[in-house]
Symmetry: C2
Subunit: 299 residues, 2 copies
Amino acid sequence: MSSAQQPFSDRLAEAVLRAGNPLCVGIDPRWESLPTSFRQRYDDTLDGRAHAYAEFGLRVLDLVAPYVAVVKPQSAFFEACGPAGFSAQQAILRRSRELGLISILDAKRGDIASTATAYADAAFGVWDADALTVNPYLGRDAVEPFIQCARAKQRGLFVLVRTSNPGSGMFQNLQVKGKPLYENVAAEVGAWNRENLGACGLGDVGAVVGATHPQELRALRALLPEVWFLVPGFGAQGGRAEDIASAFRSDGLGALINSSRGITFPFQPDDPQWESAIVKATRETITALKAATGSKSGV
Amino acid sequence: MSSAQQPFSDRLAEAVLRAGNPLCVGIDPRWESLPTSFRQRYDDTLDGRAHAYAEFGLRVLDLVAPYVAVVKPQSAFFEACGPAGFSAQQAILRRSRELGLISILDAKRGDIASTATAYADAAFGVWDADALTVNPYLGRDAVEPFIQCARAKQRGLFVLVRTSNPGSGMFQNLQVKGKPLYENVAAEVGAWNRENLGACGLGDVGAVVGATHPQELRALRALLPEVWFLVPGFGAQGGRAEDIASAFRSDGLGALINSSRGITFPFQPDDPQWESAIVKATRETITALKAATGSKSGV
């Protein structure tokens, strides 16, 4: 079966099993963290930053592609460079596809009706990402147009359920019907996801669940056995490898563990060996994830 | 006091009082709704659509600027044209500023920490909008970086509280502490807003409250007397003029009533008189709003 016809969930499962690990590399370019050589060659203007982000991001993809299955460009950093930033985002998503990587565009979009459809058309048509992060606050008709567009192209979604930030509890932890709001969101995600399960037993409407809440991660795994989790907050944000073991199903699938700065900026800007530092960080992170999760990490 | 130093809330109040009405014109360009002459002159490609959207949007601004104070470009439709779409969005926001219009970039952004800051830098720096719509689901540290960036530049925010779509109740209406979730969000918006009130008695953290829920609009007005409301859902989505009267404070300020398609696409594509149709729709909508709200419409 060609990958274009394969359900998103099966394509993701195959890619993770092939790589042998669940690491997702976040591409969050920051001007002040780039290798000094980039900041010498490009002007500190919006266009200059955009070109530097493209070159750096493409190089990161080449470096990590032999090791990982999934990458996650963060749209905000590209948007902060204006229109040229989106050309950089587009170049990175194109290269991801050429390299056989699964791409998750982290844009946290959310709107209603035809506006949601326009965002989904952008994500899966214009940017050609394999998956998109989506914010559920607007409710049913803010998520369903994204699901419809994703399914028409065998793509996937990751809906924000429980985010990794310290202030996330302000609304996500409010008690509704005896359980926190995020569990109510999780239940809806579970229902959407069950509409389109792949052969691997997982579906195409995933959940974003932060690594900084390990007990909740465990509870959500039990609640949503068929849902892919995208787990941010590992590494720089404080989530530890042992915290994320419970994110996986017993077959070792079901979770993608994201690391952004820990993989892409493990060097001082003036370090000429920054490329080998990225490869080293990638390999060490994979080793740490495998040690913490035993055989449960997509191997 | 120059407008650049004036608090956002006072600048908005002055602009609304000067225009004499609370109408906000939504700029939501759609290829299939454009005048036929545009679709003849531009290719139906992403770049062609982007150029057509720019030309159409700029013309709409010129047509409505003599009548209204506020415009709201919808970022999704520009994003659906790729990088060139964002150049069109930028051109429209620049012309808004040149024309003395207050611009609200409707992008419903939401993310955490430095990522939220990147979105805010984009909104208020790169795109140079006067205000941005923000999604609160990620909690405190997803909203506060936007507030900080907005205040550094005397800009404003509109936080999603109660949206106008039929499926909005899925999460927004869940009961928390004996009241719907959206009232809990509203209370937080009220607290953020009170941190920075202008001389007009209103603040810089507004609320999006749909016209399709008139009783809730009334209750929220009572709960949040110092908060600017951005009220979508009027016109094409079913909200009627009499439904929105309760959105205003007794001094006639405090609400912006958005209409998008009703103002910008009141014509058949082959109508050569489309420009006068836009002017007519603008004037009629203002008359209807004034009739429904009596003296309570920013006059």
